[in-house]
């Protein structure tokens, strides 16, 4: 293994910009690592060695010419979730229906990464159309958790989190509709941030649930996530829901937090996000994290968000409703899979047969749920009620943030489970997102940062930090302070691996 893959993105950027290592050799080191371990991990659906090296060489040429790097992350390679479009590079969303599709355009996030000189190593595996918590819903087979290859890496962005934990990439992009960045981060002991809704452009993010989807940064450290956050965030006129406001100074906040002083910061523990259904080791890890936050000088109080109890059912009405409409475009007419186009089937039949074959079971389940929830006569009882719950949850957050600066909870109720363990029990699978969903419904910012290993199974646990909309910087300050005090968790995986 090359040493370069063990460095943080911030360290790599320093070395590349100082001319100590080239961007090309950094990228090559990660491509080599992918070649060595991805057969086991299966974090990537597509590796674009050529494209990544070309981007890296362009950065090296800039540095050789004495030109200032395009961004603080220029030359540091990255793994991109396969739900963001990449011009001329396959984008499948983990679905059979988009197999072989070459998008004619780049997502705004992709474009910003290219403009920042970030080589894109490839596209990472995911639950089909980002629907799932284990990547087992990928049409191309699951990703495995580097901590235990028999366990899930989280989902839907399991490919991105696993690529970080397996040292295949120092940075990754995820998308988070109900926890698809944070839950994978928690179960792989990496850092994942769901920015404020509208903070990062959704243009080119293949929609699952438009009002909830949000792309965000993933890294092995809080600072790395912050550096990436600043590259991808900011107003985009191509996305009407993009916020036209300055990007919070998250890198400064991460550096400030790393000094380890949280005095003057008020932290709320959400009463409703603990108790029954939570694994003992997860709760004990969380309590230790809260104690550590107090030691850092933060004032910790308990707050109640009573409507969080209804978050999960509301989510499973809103997200499927929007998905039933968003996924209607996959009809074989313009792109992607087309079956039964033999001259004997009508257009309507081709559409129907293609959707039958192109979508997996979970996608079909949600399309059907959403179609039903939006149907005439059911709309008010289902979609309408869910929207009201959403408003109540937003009010719960607002009331809580009157009292405290950030809220904390476990990121997930359990540590990573075994592949296949919950595939036949959708409700058990859905419960993985019980802590993360409220932030999506309200549109505010949230982070998962490693809080150690569960004492009963030695598997990773995540601490969730939640901040008000547009106050993403608070996540980074608190997250970095906690990370510094807690010490690295992922290193233990390196030790485990070295001991083998």
């Amino acid at each position: 293994m090359s040493d370069l893959t063990r460095l943080t993105a911030a360290e790599l950027a320093d070395k590349i910009h100082a001319g100590e290592v080239s961007a090309a050799e950094t990228t090559q080191a990660h491509l080599d690592r992918i070649a060595a371990v991805d057969g086991d991990v299966h974090a990537f659906l597509h590796v674009d060695a050529e494209g990544a090296l070309e981007a890296a060489r362009a950065v090296d040429a800039d540095i050789a010419a004495g030109t200032a790097p395009a961004s603080p992350l220029a030359g540091v390679p990255l793994a991109l979730k396969d739900v963001l479009t990449t011009r001329g590079v396959p984008t499948t969303c983990g679905s059979r229906t988009l197999e072989g599709w070459l998008p004619p355009y780049d997502a705004t996030v992709t474009r910003r990464l290219r403009e920042a000189g970030v080589p894109i190593l490839g596209k990472t595996n995911m639950d089909e159309f980002a629907m799932g918590s284990s990547t087992e819903n990928s049409a191309y087979g699951p990703t495995r958790n580097p901590w235990d290859l028999d366990r899930i890496p989280g989902g839907s962005g399991g490919g991105s989190s696993a690529s970080l934990a397996a040292y295949e990439a120092p940075l990754a992009i995820g998308t988070d509709t109900g926890g698809s960045i944070r839950q994978p981060a928690a179960v792989t002991a990496t850092v994942g941030v769901k920015p404020t809704y509208g903070g990062v452009s959704r243009y080119g993010l293949v929609a699952f649930s438009s009002s909830l989807d949000q792309a965000g940064p993933c890294g092995r450290t809080v600072l790395d996530a912050a550096l990436l956050h600043e590259v991808i965030a900011g107003h985009d006129p191509m996305d009407a829901t993009s916020i036209d406001a300055p990007v919070p100074a998250v890198v400064d906040a991460a550096r400030e937090g790393a000094r380890g002083d949280l005095s003057g910061v008020k932290i709320g523990v959400v009463r409703e996000l603990s108790g029954e259904g939570y694994q003992g080791g997860v709760l004990r890890s969380f309590e230790a994290a809260v104690a550590q936050l107090k030691e850092l000088g933060a004032e910790v109080v308990e707050v109640s968000c009573p409507n969080f109890t209804y978050a999960l059912p509301a989510y499973y009405l809103i997200a499927p409703s929007e998905c039933s409409s968003n996924l209607a475009r996959f009809d074989a007419m313009r792109y992607g899979l087309r079956v039964a186009d033999d001259g004997n089937h009508s257009a309507e039949e081709v559409m129907s047969l293609t959707r039958e074959e192109g979508f997996g079971a979970e996608v079909k389940r949600r399309v059907m749920l959403g179609t039903y929830a939006l149907s005439s006569g059911y709309y008010d009882a289902y979609y309408g009620s869910a929207q009201k719950v959403r408003t109540l949850i937003t009010r719960d957050f607002a009331a809580a943030f009157e009292q405290v600066d950030v809220l904390v909870s476990p990121t997930t109720p359990v540590t990573p489970f075994k592949l296949g363990e919950k595939v036949d029990d959708p409700l058990a699978m859905y419960l993985n997102d019980i802590c993360s969903i409220p932030a999506n419904l309200a549109g505010n910012a949230a982070m998962s940062v490693p809080s150690g290993l569960s004492d009963e199974d030695g598997l990773p646990v995540g601490l969730q930090i939640m901040a008000p909309a547009l106050a993403d910087d608070r996540l980074y300050r608190v997250g970095a302070a906690y990370e510094t005090a807690r010490g690295p968790v992922l290193d233990k995986l390196g030790e485990l691996e070295a001991a083998k």
Partner: protein, 500 residues
Amino acid sequence: MTTAELMDYAEVIERYDPVLGLEVHVELSTNTKMFCGCPNSFGGDPNTHVCPVCLGMPGALPVVNGTAVESAIRIGLALNCDIAEWCRFARKNYFYPDMPKNFQTSQYDEPIAFDGHLDVVLDDGEVVRVDIERAHMEEDTGKSLHVGGATGRIHGAEHSLLDYNRAGVPLIEIVTKPITGMGERAPEVARAYVTALRDLLRAMDVSDVRMDQGSLRCDANVSLMAKGAGEFGTRTETKNVNSLRSVERAVRYEMTRHAAILADGGSIKQETRHFQEADGTTAAGRTKETAEDYRYFPEPDLVPIAPTREWVEQLRATIPELPWQRRKRIQEDWNLTDEELRDLVNTGAIELVAATVDAGADQADARSWWVQYLNQQATSRETELADLVITPAQVARVIELVGSGELTNKLARQVVDGVLDGDGDPDQVIEKRGLKVVSDDSALLAAVDEALAAQPDVADKIRGGKVQAAGAIVGAVMKATKGQADAARVRELILERVGA
């Protein structure tokens, strides 16, 4: 359906009250489409005015065209509507191959304009107020060309071709409240309403309003109530009504068809029908077993539109003088009788005459040209007055030349014919066809001498005091000069020559 199954129109009116509802779709003439930057222009090679957004590519997002919103508000104001203080787009979900996303971004229960009216002038000058239910914004679909099969519709076609150039073109749908109490004039009211709407939108310069090109489309809902009944009957919706005349014919046809069925004890099936220009009948579309459920829900990719009252008032100030206001003012300015005004309106000449007057012509001369000679020419050339190639400025020039004696009325008509034939502007036609009045005395004198010499007996009579005999010589000179001479001057020269 044969004509034997239609009821005589007089009997229809005797037994039933017709109820109309008119839905007019207007394509706005904005530079770009409703939700993307593609050109909004009619025609073009198939699939050349398209991009990821209007093709509904995965990940692409809409952004509202501000000019289209302005046009929508202005149209609402011109129709005396209330303008919503806050409204949203909604998704109308249904599958059809020419609809890229398989949902249409439209407005549902929150239209931008509502509760208005339009005063409509019938042929005999009677004014009818048509109440407007709503005007809302939406996007157009692409176009399907169904190849093979008897009907030209998707059912039974061998294959279909799709052109998405029109997909995403901004539309305003204007819906009337039920129009009742019109009796036998219902078909005429329908035509007059669409005509008034067309004139209004043309005056506002917001649409091409070409029914033949589909930039103004009318769906006519028709039902009958038995005389004295309190409830509306079942309606049919007739589409494919592509001219003003067809609006009237379609309504009238449906009234006679409904009446025949009702009188026979039958019931009307609520369905969509297609008007058939060739024989003036309507035919049933493909019947659906189940009612369409569009599963409307608020479009999560777009933010609500909240026009400030200041903005609305600014837009109100940009609305030009509307056709009926203008008519009233013109009648007063030109001191026209009601009949004269009606001639102007019914021939569609009012704006042309006004423009001709603006170009310097006298209103009586301008009216005479447009209402009489040019109107005849339009009829014989089977076109609309406004579509004749002659411009008001050119008509004004012809009038000027007649006034100055350079053209006789007869010559002037030849000049106009030349312009209509495409030989250029009036001066070019005069040049090319040598149509100028012969005012050169020496040329005329030669012709006079020749005529006098040819008819010495007549010359003697004039010389003998029978001045009226000069008419024969004048006629001969006019014939010799092919009518290009000024007859009065010829007469003077003859008298001079014979010394009478």
